[in-house]
């Protein structure tokens, strides 16, 4: 990857700004031998909890206009199996690993952070305080500045890893949450997670999904995500990683110009598992043609101060 693609995120610098989003790329090992996973800007792995989770009642996915709903329910192998079985393989493959963690209490988020600290090969910790798919948990941290600040500072106190906090579009005032996590010591903000939606199966006269509601992702989410990022950028000084519906170079340029230092690609991986590498190459060519580097375009769509 060329130097013009470097994405500085505080203490961490990525070789290119395209990260695969949590929940859409498994643990990345599944794609080895098929996609050159070491070249990816990074992979935010499927949300990891203290204990393995079986996930929600199916059906767990439903398609919507230019998007989809999911109610997976954080099905994952748990931190013990991840660190023991998956991390050695990820180190061998040379993947830039972002450990996306999920818990329903501050104590469990702290415990996860402690257990990841010192695990070789983890580039950053990403707190998912915004999962809409688990009863009694997760998202309530993401919808209030006070709760988000509390969990962030508790984790900050026990980790030396770069700390990313993933915000929810369900927050009444996402800027307040962003300011709170910055004040509490987050190094990077990632945004946004999915927003809850519903599809009714009119033949069965029931909601389509087993859990009734699911998180909406995909192209339909993009304008919402860009707007929120544009607003949050004005309120914090830590770097922001943007996501929501990215599926092309131009989509990602919108996020960079709104203020994202890097982006995550989620739903688009399903149609094209190597899309992030393609976008990195396309961005490289786009920047080269204009004699620019990535950092030249970050936030350029913001009004002059």
């Amino acid at each position: 990857m060329s130097a013009r693609l470097q994405a500085p995120l505080g203490a961490l610098t990525l070789d290119n700004p395209y990260i695969n989003a949590s929940g859409t790329y498994g643990y990345a090992v599944e794609y080895a031998g098929f996609v050159d996973v070491a070249r990816l800007g990074g992979v935010s792995v499927k949300g990891i909890s203290l204990e393995p989770r079986p996930g929600n009642m199916p059906p767990r996915t439903a398609e919507t206009a230019a998007g989809m709903l999911n109610s997976i329910g954080l099905a994952n192998i748990g931190i013990e199996a991840f660190v023991r079985d998956t991390m050695p393989r990820l180190r061998e493959l040379g993947v830039t690993v972002i450990a996306n963690t999920f818990a329903t209490s501050v104590e469990d988020f702290v415990e996860l952070a402690k257990r990841f600290d010192g695990v070789e090969g983890i580039a950053a910790l990403e707190l998912n305080i915004s999962c809409p798919n688990v009863h009694a948990g997760g998202m309530h941290f993401g919808v209030s500045g006070e709760a988000a600040g509390e969990v962030t500072s508790a984790v900050r106190a026990v980790t030396s890893l770069p700390l990313m906090v993933k915000l929810s579009p369900e927050a009444g005032d996402i800027c307040e949450v962003a300011r709170a996590v910055e004040a509490a010591g987050a190094d990077v903000i990632t945004m946004i997670n999915t927003i809850r939606g519903m599809v009714i199966d009119v033949d069965r006269r029931r909601p389509m999904l087993g859990q009734k509601m699911g998180g909406m992702s995909g192209p339909a989410l993009k304008p919402l995500a860009v707007r929120m990022l544009y607003e949050v950028y004005q309120q914090v000084s830590i770097p922001i990683i943007g996501m929501g519906g990215i599926g092309s170079l131009r989509d990602s340029l919108e996020f960079f110009m709104a203020g994202a230092s890097a982006v995550q690609v989620g739903t688009a991986n399903y149609a094209e598992p190597g899309i992030s590498l393609r976008l990195a190459d396309e961005l490289d060519a786009w920047l080269a043609e204009r004699d620019l580097v990535l950092t030249d375009i970050i936030g350029v769509a913001q009004d002059p101060a």
């Binding site: 498994g26 599944e30 199916p58 439903a62 989809m68 192209p219 094209e272």
Partner: protein
């Protein structure tokens, strides 16, 4: 596994409401019977997900049998020679072809014929004669029946009696299993049919492999979308634990 940009080389209409799309890329996708591919045309951002299809043929070109039931399958069924089709695979776990000397009985419903025609061809090539029970609602729901008749003992059922035996696949299946217990059942079709095939086979203790369908996003075990509850009380994922399962993994034996 490979992700290929292919072009459609041939579009056949094997029955009024079914299309067989043949496609070719730079290299073949080496799938076994029952394995599948994720397929998407160049139709922009909607529908956003690829669609799962069993391979009917696989070699210098591949083919899928499409039954239009919704938006994605309708877009695919309307595709023309020369159109681009992105195909990745092979994915999942296919049928176990080791029939241990048992006579294979293949049971297909509607579009479930796709992986079973491939399977029948493999048995035929290996010199094993199969029985192929093929059920449709009407005579228009039996695409590729003539191809099957060339290589296997074909038994057709239709619910309206317009072709073959009137009724459902389970009637001839139960008869055959009663006559000969040195058999093995391979099936693919709608859920209700699979459940009934499982009941009939498990009742007489005949091994039975079923190919399931479930809505899925990734096709590779990463999104955890295509969960089905197994008889052991744990979720199975259609895309990587299956799509082919032993009947008893999914359905309790009928009591």
């Amino acid at each position: 596994m490979k992700s290929l940009r292919t072009r459609i080389t041939e579009v056949l209409t094997p029955a009024p409401n079914y299309k067989l799309l043949r496609f070719a890329g730079d290299e073949p996708i080496p799938a076994r019977p029952g394995e599948f591919v994720m397929v998407r045309g160049e139709w922009g951002v909607h529908p956003v997900l690829p669609r799962a299809f069993s391979l009917v043929e696989c070699g210098e070109f591949g083919s899928i049998l499409v039954k239009p039931i919704g938006e994605g399958t309708t877009l695919l069924a309307d595709m023309q020679v020369g159109d681009v089709l992105t195909v990745f695979g092979p994915l999942g776990k296919g049928y176990d072809l080791d029939n241990a000397g048992r006579r294979p009985i293949l049971v297909a419903g509607g579009v479930g014929v796709a992986p079973l025609l491939y399977l029948a061809r493999e048995f035929h090539a290996a010199g094993t004669r199969c029985v192929f029970i093929y059920g449709g609602r009407t005579e228009d729901d039996l695409p590729l029946a003539d191809e099957i008749a060339e290589i296997a003992d074909l038994v057709v059922t239709t619910e309206n009696g317009a072709r073959g035996e009137k009724g459902r696949v389970t009637a001839p299946l139960a008869r055959l299993l009663d006559e000969d217990s040195n058999t093995i059942v391979y099936s693919c079709g709608p859920d209700g049919m699979l459940h009934a095939v499982s009941d009939v086979s498990q009742a007489v203790g005949i091994p039975c492999q079923l190919a399931l369908e479930a809505p899925m996003a990734c096709g590779m075990g990463t999104c955890k979308g295509c969960a089905v509850m197994g008889t052991d009380g744990t979720y199975k994922y259609v895309c990587y634990d299956g799509p082919v399962f032993e009947a008893a993994e999914i359905f309790e034996a009928a009591s």
